[in-house]
Amino acid sequence: GHTDILVGVKAEMGTPKLEKPDEGYLEFPVDCSANATPEFEGRGGEELGTEIANTLYRVFSSESSVDLKSLCINPREHCWVLYVDVLLLECGGNLFDAISIAVKAALFNTRIPKVRVLEDEEGSKEIELSDDPYDCIRLNVDDVPCIVTLSKIGYRHVVDATLQEEACSLASLLISVTSKGALTSMKKVGKGSLDPESIFEMMETGKRVGKSLHIALQKILDEEESLGTSRQKVGFLG
């Protein structure tokens, strides 16, 4: 297809949120670049950007998706904040699926350096970053869900719709599925309404498709991981 997404994860030190003092958190700034479609020029892409960001927040709001406790350094004082920057380079339909796949792959690839907290005599804490660049913690992305978009066209539904198919469909259902087949969130988008029976069908299809998507993605990520430093860096977009 013609959808290109670039996701970068940056880890920064911050203070934990008040309601969850012993967990880190993720932030999702989304940027729709003007290269994607001419409508995104200037402020045009902001509405879509906020919609994508809100969807990502909702998908990752469930506690079981990412182990946030491992991001904590000092309860109530320091924690890792992961800024997951999503950049839309080319828009060819089925944005949410591609974005969630990219986010999962980026989180899998994330390496957060290990820190040690040293206590001074007065009680003030100092954070020490380990010198070894390979000494880092990796995130466990087994439970990170992937979004599957099912667009209703006529009486049936399609997965992974292209731009033309999306134009024909009046309503779509976004489901986020974990690798074990559990649905973590759902949202209906579009101007039309959905029949309750078709929603049940869509959920079953989404679970099936989601599971196979996770398996394929995990295989590719493991392959890339095993290649290590000998991996040829192909120019992306190629």
Binding site: S62, A182, S185, M186, K191, S193, P196, I199, G206, K207
Partner: protein, 290 residues
């Protein structure tokens, strides 16, 4: 509300004392939680809390509605339309009208710290709720009958006692119908949530403490006469599609049960309006003859 620079607005970050009380492990909190548990335990999950709906109460708006749920959720909604579209043909296709939704929370609505009336996080939450409201109402309104026009709906949440978005959807649909906008059907909203625990069941119309403790939430909006779902919005801890399907069925059933209440309030509002118009007509004829 314009910000008054002379008023002392307090510190930038204010935190509710309950968070620090939990850290100190005050035994009084245990008792409070225990009492809540005792009250919540015998609740039937399919039980719908009483709903009060009244249409046609604002004099300045073409259509208005007020919905109150048993737990204390109060939503006031006003609708205007159709008006001429502000930007001609810029964003919307020229053939259909546009539905603009706005969702505001009163600063005293929630239970936690007072929301600063201009803060970014509040604007984000309001925009998200407004988008969800628009998703739910668009299938119900016959926008094709209002080309190049815009219909505005504004919802104000006065008190959040759980199931706020669902109440707002019902109020907004009622307000649009009261304004005389052509619609396919009334959109009825219903919220569900699931409490933590391995075998917890889904509960209809949760109250505020239940919603706070919940691990998964779902809001559905239904067009009951057509049996079409106009909005589904949910998230939380993962469960199998069957569990979500069961929750959806429970929600749709709740929507069907709430539908007659909303229809009745609309009929009453129409009758009241007719009576008022008739009384005004007889008064003017009396003045004219006298």
């Amino acid at each position: 509300m314009p910000l008054d620079p002379r008023r002392v607005r307090g510190p930038e970050e204010s935190q509710p004392p309950e968070l620090w009380a939990a850290a100190g492990e005050v035994p009084v909190e245990e008792d409070g939680a225990g009492e809540e548990e005792k009250d919540a335990a015998p609740r039937d999950p399919c039980d719908l809390r009483p709903l009060f709906a009244r249409a046609g109460l604002l004099s300045q708006a073409e259509g208005s509605a007020y919905v109150e749920l048993g737990g204390g959720t109060k939503v006031l909604c006003a609708a205007w339309g159709p008006r001429e579209a502000a930007e001609p043909g810029a964003a919307a296709p020229a053939g259909t009208g546009r539905l603009l939704c706005e969702f505001r929370r009163a600063p005293f609505a929630g239970r936690g710290a007072r929301w600063r009336p201009g803060s970014a996080s509040e604007r984000e939450a309001e925009r998200e709720a407004a988008a969800a409201l628009r998703e739910a109402l668009e299938p119900a309104v016959r926008l094709a009958r209002y080309p190049r026009a815009r219909l505005a709906v504004s919802a104000l949440l006065l008190q959040d006692g759980g199931s706020a978005l669902a109440a707002a959807i019902s109020a907004a649909a009622l307000a649009l119908a009261d304004a005389g906008v052509e619609m396919y059907d009334l959109a009825v909203g219903c919220a569900l949530c699931r409490s933590p625990g391995p075998a917890a069941a889904w509960m209809l119309q949760p109250g505020e403490p239940e919603e706070r403790r919940a691990v998964a939430r779902l809001t559905v909006a239904l067009l009951p006469a057509l049996n079409q779902v106009s909005a589904v919005l949910g998230g939380g801890q993962g469960s199998s599609p069957d569990a979500w399907a069961q929750a959806l069925r429970l929600g749709l059933d709740g929507c069907h049960r709430l539908y007659p209440v909303l229809r009745q309030s609309l009929l009453r509002a129409a009758r009241r309006r007719d009576a008022a118009a008739a009384a005004a007509a007889t008064a003017t004829t009396a003045v004219a003859t006298a």
